[in-house]
Subunit: 348 residues, 2 copies
Amino acid sequence: MNIGEIAQRAGVSRSTVSYALSGKRPVSEETREKIQRVIDDLGYRPNASARALANGRTSTIGLVFPPAGDHYTGMQLDFIGSVVEAAAAYDYDVLLSPSGVDSDRSFQRLLGERRVDGAILMEIRLQDDRVEHLLAEGFPSVCIGRTAQPENDWWVGLDHTALTAACVHHLADLGHRRIAFVNRPERLLRAGYESAHRGLDGFTKAAAERGLTVRTYTCGDDAPSGQACLERILHDDPATTALVTLNEAALGGLYRGLAHAGRHVPRDFSVTGVVAARWAETVTPQLTAADVPAAELGRLAVELLVERLDQPQTPPRHQLLTPPISLRASTGPVGTPAPMVADPDLNA
Amino acid sequence: MNIGEIAQRAGVSRSTVSYALSGKRPVSEETREKIQRVIDDLGYRPNASARALANGRTSTIGLVFPPAGDHYTGMQLDFIGSVVEAAAAYDYDVLLSPSGVDSDRSFQRLLGERRVDGAILMEIRLQDDRVEHLLAEGFPSVCIGRTAQPENDWWVGLDHTALTAACVHHLADLGHRRIAFVNRPERLLRAGYESAHRGLDGFTKAAAERGLTVRTYTCGDDAPSGQACLERILHDDPATTALVTLNEAALGGLYRGLAHAGRHVPRDFSVTGVVAARWAETVTPQLTAADVPAAELGRLAVELLVERLDQPQTPPRHQLLTPPISLRASTGPVGTPAPMVADPDLNA
DNA sequence: GAACGATGTCGAACCGGTTCGACAAGGGCC
DNA sequence: GGCCCTTGTCGAACCGGTTCGACATCGTTC
């Protein structure tokens, strides 16, 4: 069943049916009704491929996300959901593309074969060849995250620098002097992941500002790694009284490590970081954290992309979010010094 | 840049270029090389819409998943990831469609407008109008989960009945006599979600078989609901010594509730259920559970769908998985009777 | 009452591929 | 030498929409 059949049954030409549907030229009320009746009877829907071929728009956006080899974090799930939902509101479908490296197969598929009108990229790196490539081509895309040169690109992002700094200040205000930083996996840091780098920067600088003693760690994206990481932290400096984590997936493991070490949260040890609210709420005690507004980021990314698609000549826009720290139950004032070591800094 | 331009530069006809690329008719080695050189020079890639229009195949499969209004569980994330990855291996893209109800907009888009060659459905209900609709149309699809009449449909699924029964037997073997069941949200149970119903069935029947005293609950898909649910459980029957949960997202809340009630896991209270391994490992103590092989289910679904697409006449196939219970740290023998109530059954 | 603009409809061309039938050239066979 | 089969290539039709130019009709306007 195609537009020709509808036209025949309605006794009009194919173009009239097309205009009746698109409204791009006036069609008499009478004709429109006749056509609509036939369409309803037959349950006709125009073929998406034919339409895309004719008018050059697929009504689909690509969501380029990291390969499944990486563990997914809850944040990514919320992104995907909110992107799909927001896109649907603008009548766009979402095509998923597993991709990390530039110019790999699936990336080429999306762009080269014109499967999508635009793309949203996740897990941006500071130097990101995918982003450079898209920028050079002028292909409509929006990044969730920003590269080292974000000025003339489209993106939405979190101010990880400010967020981790806020965590440090929060802990310092509570009297903590020796704190650890738990980053994303080393592989991702090496690869130049934006959040890992800017988060580390913010942490380091704020800690220096406040004169804190710090150690920084990378940690695999899963609970066992988190537990191992915490053991290393306490082994390296048993006087550590707090940590800041960017690593959502390791959170459960960090808590377990603390429990095994006999450190009570928040009495003996404070934990905070940058984590989506719904994950911060699953641990006990609930995590005081800068809540990653994953759903909002996804929605904003879609809105920016749609704007870019509708008005191709608009200059680059972007949006940097800095959610406040939500006080929950995992941080508290530094109490008695840690058991093993007496450190003069502690009461300074 | 299109196939005509390639043909011109290579000095051949458009059809020859097409045959050189598809291999559906012999092309001389010399011509093939000439064409390939031009293609490489220009970085040509055939337009997906045009190809789809011409040969009727989009090389895309639809993944129909529940609307974002529902909280996503970790399981769903793993599904999506594995489906995308497996699909890529067969050269299919994945189009996400948020959909719950039958014949809603996005469902119609996918099928009516021929955006996809086939579909994978998640979150199946026992009476599922979407599934019936697809079955009636003969549209190639595979369900993750099965309806009440699964015989002549394609699906992969978990034997939730057997899994919850196994949990019950595990607890009964440890001496538990009063156990609770924590199901998915009531709304989903009412809607007829397969896992919620079959899981409940398996639980109820196995408990009856073993002569256990049980109570069953529904619980929202988030940590606060889990905590509230646990409070209700202990309020309704303080002598409860164990629970079985289907609700992954509530797990953290259940644990928190137990901690607040002063019940130590697994000394005072055993917890088990049906949960993906990576989530079972994030809680402390790690959850003894039937591990949902989400990634494997996703992969299998894609394989079945591809098979169905390649050989449209194959009779329905399906695959029911019954993963074993992984013993971790959250269950143990029933110890001293619960504090409030002495129950003769306990030592029977 | 002729010129004009707006309205409504149609046919044809086009988007960029795939595929079918035709045909020429070359080789093997009797 | 004629016949047939295979190989290699081409032109044309087709997939199912959109869009442009043309044209007929009708109501205004001077």
